[in-house]
Symmetry: D2
Subunit: 146 residues, 4 copies
Amino acid sequence: MSHSIPHSTIIKVRGYHCDFYGHVNNARYLEMLEEARWQYLEAGLDLSYWKDRGLGFVVVSVTINFLRPASPGIDLEITSETTKLEGRTGVIHQEVINRQSGKTVANADVTFAVIDLETGRAKTMEGEVLAGFEKMRAANNQNDGS
Amino acid sequence: MSHSIPHSTIIKVRGYHCDFYGHVNNARYLEMLEEARWQYLEAGLDLSYWKDRGLGFVVVSVTINFLRPASPGIDLEITSETTKLEGRTGVIHQEVINRQSGKTVANADVTFAVIDLETGRAKTMEGEVLAGFEKMRAANNQNDGS
Amino acid sequence: MSHSIPHSTIIKVRGYHCDFYGHVNNARYLEMLEEARWQYLEAGLDLSYWKDRGLGFVVVSVTINFLRPASPGIDLEITSETTKLEGRTGVIHQEVINRQSGKTVANADVTFAVIDLETGRAKTMEGEVLAGFEKMRAANNQNDGS
Amino acid sequence: MSHSIPHSTIIKVRGYHCDFYGHVNNARYLEMLEEARWQYLEAGLDLSYWKDRGLGFVVVSVTINFLRPASPGIDLEITSETTKLEGRTGVIHQEVINRQSGKTVANADVTFAVIDLETGRAKTMEGEVLAGFEKMRAANNQNDGS
């Protein structure tokens, strides 16, 4: 999976994203990461691919590191990249970067499963599931002009 | 509807309720009002009363006035009282009071409809709907020890 | 104020915007309206105009009508237009439109005051405050290509 | 740190906590965990202890596992327990338990630092910082009636 170009989403920090301490609240980062993952999935592959096959995504765990604060007016760039597809889970690595300073504000590894929406059971990363991710990677690279 | 004692809910302001300006964010008040209405409905009458009759609540409009800021550590008391039941809508009046200062932080009129969950149609405020509200008022007054 | 073209912001509905009922939650609309107002203020006039004069915006009240539900995948267009500037308050009218159906999902009148950030006092809608809004309207119309 | 009794917070799931999929949204769990940590800190030790010493808490990272879905009406019990204090960071372990089923819905390890609010620097877990945690543990155990 080494040649994938990370997908990129921009979100401008607003006052309502922040908490009493004047910086983006920890919980809000999880919403921003979710927004970026939706855009990543849509950009790489029409969501109907998954829907047509009766497949859905479930987040199994998140590990997030908060490295620097972010204040209103900052443009956050959120990169999303699938870094692992193995057994019944995959991992999307996401970086949240302050575009003004170029520094990483937060980063996260989001472990997910692809489930059969009818049975609720996780699928192994093979066959049509793996094919879906291969198509996503190809489409993302094309979108990025490489 | 003059003898109803308003239902009361307490929510302590936390850092995550606030925004960049250090005060509870406008959108968050709507969540707090929703929380208070659920507690009001539950306290006055088991929610199964409505569910058994296939009835649900839909918020039609909200008018909210922001009078004073509220900061972390403040206990907010949210009172809820049905002030109108007429035609196809009712109004719940809610006050958000700073318990330390005794002053009103915000107040709102929430207009709702009771709908038949199967047809999606609003019911008129009569029969079992009106009976439900009468039971709620009676139960609330009893809970408040009067 | 009759020749102003409303500013427009697009927000795509995601699963996290919705609540248990599968539609955008009432409180979330207030965040979407706030996002649209920031974009409206930025598009029409650099926010430094207000900042340089030590002026800030405070929302005094919101009246919002919920007309139709909105589900994930829908693009919401939020229009923002200043419809009143009188005495110590102004009103921004906002419409939330489902771009797929063309129908209005919600609309709101947001009453605000412009305050002197040092004294916390509301300014009357005249002089530099009024000039700021005139510049915003001119800039918005230009952006919209008229 | 083996004899500490975990602090416990109860939050009832409401419709607004959930997302399109009908279950508590991932980001919302981080707010619930934050609420539980505030109650934990307050119950164990008046927050003025930390404030008087010019100390604040900063969350450095969160690892959260989502094990089961939670729907409206469920009472979630969130336990909070300091499981590590070493060098410049500590770890609070939190479990989110469905009180109706007794099953764990989610669990998390929250790594934090105690910082000197004036310098912004992390303190080592010794002296007054360690003493604060010892007091918290003693107070929590007493509150729990043991």
